[in-house]
């Protein structure tokens, strides 16, 4: 058996996979083999396969083009896509980026570790208040430059994530969801009743990054979305790269294992509690970062923007995009923000429309627009190839294995089952 056929050296496995895929399509929702993690081979699924088949260089080249286009978006202001005249397009772009960042953060909690968090807006609120209370002239606290509030907001929300996580992450599933829902409300109500947080009056003139135009107006003004959008987009790219690295690391494998089966993860040697707290803390920090950016751009923070529906909207963004897929989360977040801004006539009915859209997506595409497919082995391609190579060298495919089940007999079983 020769090994000259390049990067797909495992015909048996490929055939088995193809058989499994056929089986998956045929099995349908009533099948006993956990259908929820299997993507339907739809239009996006085909894209995903093509994408994975491309060589690294082409993937990078394509990504660079996409990133440049993303940066140019508010400047190009494409005619059909634009949200004008109803909404300033650059500001809309910032809002989309903000939602995308939130979705990336929530995706760590919900998508990777599988912890249903219905109170994520609380972390967003904590981040917003951090930025506001450390920069606004209305605040009695010490005032520091705005950019310093970003790491501080992340650290503080991370702390809140741990404080919430340690007592609650012993709970699972529905119970955890209810507790996080409660936490979201607690933060909002505290902002109302603690005098120093100024309830509905809020904080005006929240700081912004330094720099002024030639005429003396600040570059990062409330009315100019472009610099804010670029800042947020840059942060999204950095965070996505960091989160992507985590996903492929030991930490990511632990999260996915916890999501798949928590008890099994524990008896594989995964300290499940520790990794759940980490997921919560990292997710919280990204939420706080987003909150600080939001506070800076809007320039005003009060208790009105942090209600439960916002939490649900964040969750909708992740589920819509495809829980567990960071690209899906970015697109889901951007869409959830974009649709009401673009179609202002229907903005009033946005929850109705999102509701219907989510129901339809759950029926026809139960894993979101971009189903998650983690590649958990850091050097997955080479790992599979190494095994395949050994296979070719040491074990003829039609040879009889020393012990174990005979492959020829039950292969048919596998297809029929």
């Amino acid at each position: 058996m020769s090994m000259t056929d390049g990067p797909t050296p495992l015909p048996e496995a490929a055939a088995a996979q193809a058989a499994a895929d056929r089986e998956a399509v045929a099995a349908g929702p009533g099948s006993s083999v956990t259908p929820e993690r299997r993507g339907r081979p739809g239009i996006f699924g085909a894209w995903g396969e093509k994408w994975n088949a491309l060589p690294r260089q082409q993937q990078w080249a394509f990504l660079i083009v996409v990133v440049i286009l993303a940066y140019m978006l508010p400047l190009i202001n494409p005619p059909i896509i634009t949200t004008e005249p109803g909404n300033n397009f650059a500001l809309a772009c910032f809002d989309m980026a903000r939602f995308a960042l939130i979705a990336v953060g929530l995706n760590v909690v919900v998508g990777y570790a599988g912890l249903l968090d219905l109170g994520y807006v609380a972390f967003f609120a904590v981040g917003s208040y951090c930025a506001a209370m450390l920069t606004s002239p209305d605040s009695p606290f010490l005032h520091i430059p705005y950019l310093w509030t970003i790491p501080i907001a992340m650290a503080v929300t991370m702390f809140f994530g741990v404080v919430l996580g340690v007592p609650t992450l012993r709970l699972r599933g529905d119970y955890l969801a209810i507790v996080t829902l409660g936490f979201g409300e607690i933060v909002r109500i505290l902002a109302t009743i603690i005098p120093a947080m100024k309830g509905q009056v809020g904080f005006q003139n929240v700081g912004h990054p330094p720099g002024t135009e030639a005429d003396g107006t600040p570059i990062f003004s409330n009315s100019n979305g472009v610099p804010w959008y670029w800042l947020t987009l840059t942060i999204i790219i950095i965070i996505t790269l960091l989160v992507g690295n985590l996903e492929r690391s030991r930490v990511g494998r632990a999260w996915i294992a916890i999501r798949e089966d928590e008890d099994a993860a524990e008896i594989m040697g995964v300290p499940t509690f520790k990794y759940k707290v980490w997921a919560f803390a990292i997710g919280a920090a990204i939420g706080g970062l987003s909150g600080a950016l939001f506070a800076g751009q809007v320039g005003f923070v009060n208790n009105q923007k942090f209600d439960v529906t916002t939490s649900i909207l964040f969750l909708a963004a992740v589920v819509l995009g495809g829980a567990g897929n960071k690209v899906g989360a970015i697109i889901g977040g951007a869409l959830v923000s974009y649709i009401p801004l673009r179609f202002t006539a229907i903005a009033e009915y946005k929850y109705l429309i999102f509701g219907i859209a989510l129901v339809l997506i759950m029926i026809f595409r139960s894993q979101g627009l971009f189903p998650a497919r983690q590649r958990l082995l850091a050097y997955g391609r080479t790992a599979y190839q190494r095994v395949a190579k050994k296979d070719g060298a040491s074990l003829p495919s039609n040879g009889k294995p020393p012990t174990g089940l005979r492959p020829d007999r039950d292969r048919e079983k596998g297809i029929q089952a």
Binding site: A13, R253, D391
Partner: protein, 237 residues
Amino acid sequence: MTLLEVEGISVHYGRIRAIRDMSFSVNEGEVVSLIGANGAGKTTTMKTISGILNPSVGKITFAGEDITKMKAHIRVVRGISQAPEGRGIFPGMTVMENLDMGTFGRKNRAGVPQDLERVFDLFPRLKERIKQYGGTMSGGEQQMLAIGRALMSDPKLLLLDEPSMGLAPQFIRQIFKIIKEINKQGTTVLMVEQNANQALAGAHRAFVLETGEITHSGTGKELLANPAIKEAYLGVG
């Protein structure tokens, strides 16, 4: 030498007691079977040894160390590995990724390639299907994957919770043959089973569990010959 020593443990689910004052030991190099009917406490025993459940009284010693209060994920590092009841594989991961998860807790990374080879020798099916998702495999294949994954942590003690559950008869014979092979290669095995015939035939020693207590013990052959056990578990009067 005694590898695992269970002394007087009782386990409760809330106020319901599933195991009462159970004591037994597993020596290094043995295959030990716990047999019993539904609800006898077999899975509870397994979960208590692997650390998912905690005993309310009693003591568990592993390789001379008291592990009664030890967290499950640390017991894996110490050398206890379990293929859980109902397989407990990760359905959304490929075979290769499942096997990789098995190495999560191990310290000696250098031995991973050999152990992978060993698992593929025991279960050639897994090698053919390294890219297949765990959830799309048949019951027998999932059982192989669960055992293979447990072996990837290089355990001293392998816990098997009903390895024959839901399998066709010829699969069952194969699985027990493989368990014997694993034991020959130097891994101590503790299994619980409903399939008393196979479990007793393949075991050095065995215990019979009834409503949370050990009622009979002896070598596998002795218990196979015991008339009471024949009647209750082997279906011959």
